[in-house]
Amino acid sequence: METPLSAKAALLQALAVPGYGLDLVKRVQRDSAGLIRLRPGSVYPALRAMEQEGLVAVRPGQADGRRGRPRRYYELTLRGVQVAIAQRAALLELLGGPGVTATPDVGEMRRQLESCSSLSGSVVELERRVRDVMGLPR
């Protein structure tokens, strides 16, 4: 089957978490249930192009036995994040919706939000009073 996404588009989605070249190839294959297989011959030029376009930044990782050469970790820049989000939205639109249903306990989340807000309010109030007592500026 023909790969349904360009290497660049697939890499942009795989880079939701930073990674090095081979890691990204494996990630794309795993997350597409083996349907999208990128070849190193297309991955590295795509990553270089993305770097030149300012979509990814590179940072060296730790040397890990590849004859002492550190891996190059690719990470999305702020612009890369925007492009990845826009492309994801376009793909979801094309495919007819996200199909993701989260089922967290909303009632519990609200109770915890209220606790957090109340605790924070108490801490701020306490700090104000301490500052007042000690004559410190707020």
């Binding site: 978490v17 970790y73 989000i85 909303v106 606790s115 957090c116 924070s120």
Partner: protein, 204 residues
């Protein structure tokens, strides 16, 4: 003086911008996912252009400035606003977020907040990578142990594997989240005594 109420402030900002247009992140989101700690400010990720966000806040009587941030120092543009003495930071997406996985939590008066989902929150925290962020990640993992493999994999990708491992092994954080042996024994004893008291009241 009115008591500081971060939730009311968050609700007001979400009402102004539209609940679908902003995701609650930061300390309040960490709290909503189970690690309740004090925080001073309210943080949102917004979809719209930051200049438009600032204009909207100003139009609703909220003081707001747009800071550019220095990208060379890892900075990013951000709208900083002040609502009822509470600082509100509104940022662009700093990692690709799965907006449709965010959780809608209804508040009073018909408003609601969209809260970033747990995995995206971990990625945001690991991207920020400060000591407080790592502590939050570790606390959330201790609260949701099934997340541990995901969190460790993410930390590896963000170059923070060892730092997260140190936080996950921190006995003080573990005690804070899970309670110490003594506290757990005390809770069990209190529960037993409560049950015994209820039983004797019923007998009478």
């Amino acid at each position: 003086m009115r008591r500081t109420d971060l939730l009311r402030v968050a609700g007001r900002v979400a009402r102004i911008l539209g609940p679908e247009e902003c995701l609650l992140v930061g300390g309040l989101a960490v709290g909503s996912h189970g690690y309740v700690r004090a925080t001073r400010d309210v943080d949102f990720i917004v979809r719209a252009d930051l200049a438009a966000v600032r204009a909207r806040l100003l139009a609703n009587g909220i003081a707001a400035v747009l800071t550019r941030g220095d990208p060379l120092e890892g900075g990013f543009p951000c709208v900083k606003a002040m609502v009822d003495d509470v600082r509100v930071d509104l940022m662009p997406p700093l990692v690709p977020l799965t907006w449709e996985r965010a959780i809608t939590v209804p508040l009073s008066k018909g408003t609601s907040l969209r809260i970033v989902d747990l995995e995206d929150l971990l990625r945001l925290k690991l991207k920020a990578g400060g000591p407080r962020d790592l502590m939050d990640v570790a606390a959330l993992v201790l609260r949701h142990p099934l997340l541990e493999p995901t969190a460790r994999t993410l930390a590896l990708a963000f170059g923070l594997f060892d730092a997260l491992a140190r936080w996950l092994a921190d006995p003080r954080l573990k005690a804070e989240i899970q309670g110490t042996k003594g506290e757990r024994a005390l809770k069990r004893l209190a529960g037993k005594m409560r049950a015994r008291g209820q039983a004797s009241r019923r007998r009478r």
